[in-house]
């Protein structure tokens, strides 16, 4: 309950900070092209299944995303930890 309150407080703060920003969406034409591109990707999935072991790909893909952003996650965690005084992390 305490952590939920903290997260909710943080979320409320974020929303309060970015409340003034209101940018437009992506134009619909671009969206059409993107959908076409996704259709081509899905159409070529058959060849990917021939070349790659997709079970292995499905496992590695989340791991690759996590590892690729590991530095950012690390900095975020350290930022939070440094804010805790009794831990003494600098």
């Amino acid at each position: 309950m305490i952590l939920e309150s903290v997260f909710n407080l943080f979320s409320s703060a974020i929303k309060l900070i970015f409340a003034w920003i209101n940018l437009p969406d992506l134009p619909p034409e671009i969206d059409v092209y993107l959908n076409t591109m996704f259709d081509y990707i899905e159409g070529g999935m058959g060849f990917l299944y021939l070349v790659f072991n997709m079970d292995l790909v499905k496992v590695l893909l989340p791991l690759v995303i996590a590892v690729a952003n590991f530095d950012k996650v690390y900095q975020l965690v350290m930022f939070v930890l440094r804010k805790i005084p009794f831990l003494g992390i600098k």
């Binding site: 305490i2 999935m45 989340p62 995303i65 530095d71």
Partner: protein
């Protein structure tokens, strides 16, 4: 017995003797004594000794040489062998006998047994016998009689299964019987009591069922009238009462060639009158004679009946013979003699009275007294032996009584002892039973108590366990409540983060517009890969058309199916290599990132 006793007994008999001599005259005493001694020492069974006479049997012939033949066959055997058979042309009533056979008898033969064999479909069975018949039996193997004897005649049992319609063709002997054969159900009158015939015949017209019952037999016995002349024997070959002769034998006609004597027993008393019947079966005989005391007497015969008055003394049958001469013509002549007057007394001479001194001189008293003395000595010895036997008997009886009493007392003692032992055993068994019953009751009570205690103990354990479970459950529930409360206090629920980040993503996507596109693009591409399913790689060759003319149509080539069918190992090899590459690239990425973060 000692000598004193014998002397005393001898004196007693002497006293009796002189008393009798004084009381009666000597002649009266001797006569009475003779009568008494005769009654004592003459065997009464010798007087009327009868000899079994011949038997005849009819047997079925279910097998053998006459099986299935349509004739009846008679056999006569005198010494156990069968004699010759002859054809019997006619019955005695003149009718045709059909396929009948009979035996003729030799001049010296007598009838022992007659066997008549019946083949299949026999209409008549003929028994030819020179003897008159006495009894007729029809028996089967187990001795069941179908034909009974009644008053010396024959009876066909009513309703007899096998012999319905049996009749008897009676011969001479039967014909002369007062109680002639009248009991047959279908007795032909002309057969019964007819004129003389040379044979006694028993005709059994159609013995139904006899032919296929192999074990049935018909037995005959001789006529009882023969037995009235006691001592006659039909079995002995000589002399005999049956005199079969042939007239054409080399005998001198009208000459007595042989007398036939009666060889056993029987006496005709002095001054007695006896009547004999001569049953002669043809008319070829000449005269009838009887032999008496060496004299041949030409008997006056009227209607074949000879009356004889015995003169002078008693005559034994052994000294009495019969004979007859041949007459004219040829033919079988047989004769049966029997005594027809049954009222005449026939006695027996004493063994030493053979008739040699008959009717001559006065009685010999000295000889009689000598015989009486000898008989008295025999009587004394007999009395002595009898007395000793009586003493022995008394001693034996006394011993028997003593033994009986001893055995009785012993038995009673044993019974009393046994009874006491039984009573003791009964009481012991009863007490033991009571003891066992009490022990059983106590044991059952203890067992019930133990079971009750065990049940109460189990119930207590069960209640304790239930209480413990309730306490445990309460503690567990409280503990879980506290833990869940603490956990809920610090740790958010699983749904919280999902809804929390979804809310933030939606907020930023709404506020930042096109700036959230890269994030959305990455998420969408990742979603394509993560949610994809295996699909075939199909190459499409589109249709080609020039000026409305279609050069070729669209063609789809399934590349995945082609490789999996033709080159499956190639797919495996390619995927193996790419997997290795992906793993190595991932490891390299991890290393680079580690270096970037930790060593920067």
């Amino acid at each position: 017995m000692d000598k004193d006793a014998l002397s005393q007994m001898s004196g007693t008999f002497k006293g009796v003797y002189f008393y009798c001599m004084k009381r009666y005259s000597g002649l009266q005493f001797l006569f009475g004594l003779f009568v008494v001694l005769s009654m004592m020492f003459v065997n009464p069974f010798d007087v009327c000794a009868m000899t079994p006479i011949s038997e005849m049997e009819i047997k079925t012939l279910g097998e053998g040489p006459w099986a299935g033949q349509n004739y009846a066959r008679a056999r006569v055997q005198s010494d156990g062998s069968l004699s010759q058979n002859y054809y019997l042309p006619t019955w005695r009533d003149g009718t045709s006998a059909g396929e009948g056979y009979y035996d003729s008898f030799g001049t010296s033969e007598t009838i022992d047994d007659v066997y008549i064999f019946s083949g299949e479909s026999v209409n008549n069975i003929v028994i030819c016998s020179y003897d008159p018949l006495l009894e007729l039996y029809i028996v089967n193997n187990d001795g069941t009689f179908f034909l009974d004897v009644l008053d010396d005649a024959f009876l066909v049992e009513s309703g007899s299964k096998f012999f319905y319609g049996v009749s008897l063709c009676s011969g001479v002997g039967v014909a002369f019987r007062t109680n002639s054969v009248t009991h047959f159900t279908e007795l032909t009158a002309s057969y019964n009591g007819g004129s003389y015939y040379d044979k006694v015949m028993a005709a059994l017209p159609y013995v139904g069922g006899l032919y296929d019952a192999n074990g049935y037999a018909v037995k005959f016995k001789g006529f009882q009238a023969v037995q009235h002349v006691s001592g006659y024997s039909l079995r002995d070959s000589s002399p005999t009462v049956v005199f079969p002769v042939y007239a054409n034998l080399a005998w001198d006609s009208h000459t007595m060639t042989k007398f036939h004597f009666v060889d056993n027993g029987g006496v005709m008393h002095s001054d007695g009158s006896y009547t004999f019947n001569f049953d002669v079966y043809n008319s070829h005989y000449g005269a009838l004679y009887y032999l008496y005391d060496g004299y041949t007497v030409d008997s006056p015969i009227v209607n074949n009946v000879m009356s004889i008055t015995v003169p002078g003394r008693d005559v034994s049958f052994s000294d009495f013979g019969f004979g007859y001469t041949n007459g004219d013509g040829d033919g079988l002549t047989t004769c049966i003699i029997y005594r027809s007057s049954s009222s005449d007394d026939i006695g027996t001479l004493p063994p030493d009275d053979s008739g040699n001194g008959e009717g001559s001189g006065s009685p010999d008293y000295s000889s009689a007294l000598a015989q009486i003395g000898a008989r008295l000595d025999e009587v004394m010895v007999a009395v002595s032996e009898g007395s000793q036997q009586i003493v022995n008997n008394i001693t034996y009886q006394t011993t028997q009584i003593t033994n009986t009493i001893t055995n009785t007392v012993t038995n009673m003692t044993q019974q009393i002892t046994q009874g006491l032992s039984d009573v003791k055993q009964g009481i012991t068994d009863k007490l033991q039973g009571v003891q066992e019953e009490i022990s059983g009751s106590i044991e059952e009570a203890n067992k019930a108590q133990i079971e009750s205690d065990q049940k109460l103990h189990d119930e207590q354990i069960k209640a304790d366990k239930e209480n413990t479970d309730q306490i445990d459950n309460a503690i567990e529930e409280h503990g879980n409540f506290i833990i869940d409360g603490l956990k809920g206090l610090f740790i958010p629920s699983d749904e919280f983060f999902k809804s929390y980040f979804d809310d933030l993503y939606e907020y930023f996507a709404d506020r930042f517009g096109f700036l959230s596109f890269p994030i959305e693009l990455v998420i969408r591409i990742a979603d394509i890969f993560l949610t994809s399913e295996k699909v075939d790689a199909v190459l499409v060759l589109p249709a080609f058309e020039i000026s409305g003319y279609q050069v070729w149509e669209q063609y789809n080539f399934n590349f995945t199916e082609f490789l999996e069918t033709s080159f499956p190992f190639l797919i495996t090899a390619i995927q193996t290599l790419t997997s290795i590459g992906l793993v190595m690239a991932f490891v390299n990425l991890c290393q680079d990132k580690w270096n970037e973060v930790m060593r920067s």
